[in-house]
């Protein structure tokens, strides 16, 4: 199993006793209300998903991440985990002060020890992280809409975020103990935001052939209209794993985080998070975490050459299709037939079929998985009445 990134698995969750005390004390503290995305960041900092980070980045680390894709101690780190505040909030805060972090519903759930307050150049951040200043890029747009100042410092979480998917929510500590109990020494991580089709199954099982277990880790969080709803994705995977995976070889757990659409830099970030869950390998597909045509199809694979010290092995897959002659999913390495025999695993096509209440063909999706998806009246974000 991989050692945690940076060497130590961070645990910044308060003990029961301390939590009880902080619940009272935070009522007297200055506070900042966080968005649901930032709240997820706090939870990921607290339970070690973002190890070795113990809080929001201070200025020196922020600069290092932007310029070198590393923390100031040389540890690989590609996306800045930062907390933005307004000018008014900045004026109210003092260095060394402990403040309360609130949920969107204004419930205190964590504290932050203010270590540094600093300004930042949003255009520079957009350029360095996303490779563009184009505000049509959702990540850039998000950066340009951030407040003007950043606050860095360690966090301590005393109230866990509530989730609708408790059954599927495991922390890195839990997955590490689980993998060890299962006797897995090599584990491949798979990131997903979709219901599984036959192409996904091909990729997962090909990788699984070479390791002890697969860790399927869907990202749960804010999605675009038209994306599958979280519960649909989880139910579809649950069905697939129940019917077509060896029970002792596959584990699914959710990752509550927001997509940044930073393409190559996000692919490395995704690998680091899975390393913290204990994975030794991580599947990186075509245009991983990309959006539009901002990144080349294999930029997210090439970037791994820059990190000889990442200590998680990326497993690269080029595009894969269904080949009628081979009778299954294939990629360019294994199929000698030409394009007229091949059919793309088109997510859009399958989504459109579901919208019309139709079942995708069996060579595209397992019938049991399709049946599970069709069971939901509200399959997609924006469908809710």
């Amino acid at each position: 199993m991989s050692t945690p990134h940076g060497g130590t698995l961070v645990d910044h969750t308060a003990s029961k006793k301390k939590s009880a005390r902080l619940k009272e004390e935070t009522r007297e503290m200055k506070s900042i209300r966080l968005t649901s995305g930032l709240r997820k960041d706090v939870q990921n900092l607290a339970n070690g998903v973002y190890s070795p980070l113990t809080g929001f980045l201070c200025g020196n680390d922020f600069d290092w991440v932007l310029e070198e894709s590393r923390l100031s101690d040389d540890t690989p780190w590609t996306l800045p985990i930062i907390l933005d505040v307004t000018e008014e909030q900045r004026k109210e805060l003092s260095i060394g002060e402990e403040i309360s972090l609130l949920t969107e519903e204004e419930e205190p759930f964590a504290t932050l020890e203010v270590e540094e307050l600093y300004g930042f150049d949003k255009k520079r951040m957009a350029r360095k992280i996303y490779g563009t200043e184009d505000q049509d890029h959702p990540g850039v747009k998000r950066v340009m809409n951030m407040k003007d100042h950043l606050v860095g410092g360690d966090i301590l979480q005393f109230k866990k975020n509530s989730t609708d998917f408790e059954k599927f929510h495991l922390t890195p500590k839990e997955t590490r103990i689980l993998f060890r109990e299962k006797g897995w020494r090599t584990i491949v991580g798979f990131q997903t935001r979709n219901v599984p089709h036959m192409g996904h199954e091909y990729v997962q099982k090909t990788a699984l052939s070479f390791v002890d277990g697969i860790f399927i880790n869907p990202i749960i969080g804010k999605k675009k209209a038209g994306d599958y709803r979280d519960e649909v994705i989880l139910a579809a995977y649950d069905t697939l794993m129940d019917k077509y995976y060896l029970k002792g070889r596959a584990v699914m757990s959710i990752l509550e985080a927001e997509m940044r659409y930073a393409g190559p830099k996000e692919a490395v970030f995704h690998a680091i998070m899975r390393k913290n869950f204990g994975c030794t390998h991580f599947i990186v597909g075509r245009d991983h975490a990309g959006v539009g045509d901002y990144y080349g199809p294999y930029d997210a694979q090439d970037i791994f050459d820059e990190f000889p010290d990442l200590d998680i092995t990326p497993v690269f897959f080029k595009s894969f299709t269904y080949c009628e002659k081979c009778g299954g999913a294939v990629d360019g390495h294994i199929c000698p037939h030409d394009d007229k025999n091949r059919e793309n695993f088109s997510g859009t096509k399958m989504r459109n079929m579901f919208k019309e209440g139709k079942t995708p063909p069996e060579h595209m999706m397992r019938p049991e998985v399709a049946k599970t998806v069709l069971r939901y009246e509200d399959k997609f974000v924006g469908d809710q009445k």
Partner: protein, 74 residues
Amino acid sequence: MTEKNYTTVSIPKPLAKKIKKRMEGTGFNSMSSYVTYVLRQVISSMEEEEKAEEFSKEDEEKVKERLRALGYLD
């Protein structure tokens, strides 16, 4: 990154020659970036070997209990 984040180390000239030769065709455009790459690889594999993971007994039991309750462990 600004120059203040870098430092200079001295290595024997014959070794530098060997490194230069070894660099040929690798795509690295300077000896510094090549040596940085190699050292990061070496140090990280050394660190990997040195680390052992430990959780307290109490933590382990608590986690295993939850994993059993959720059906991840028998």
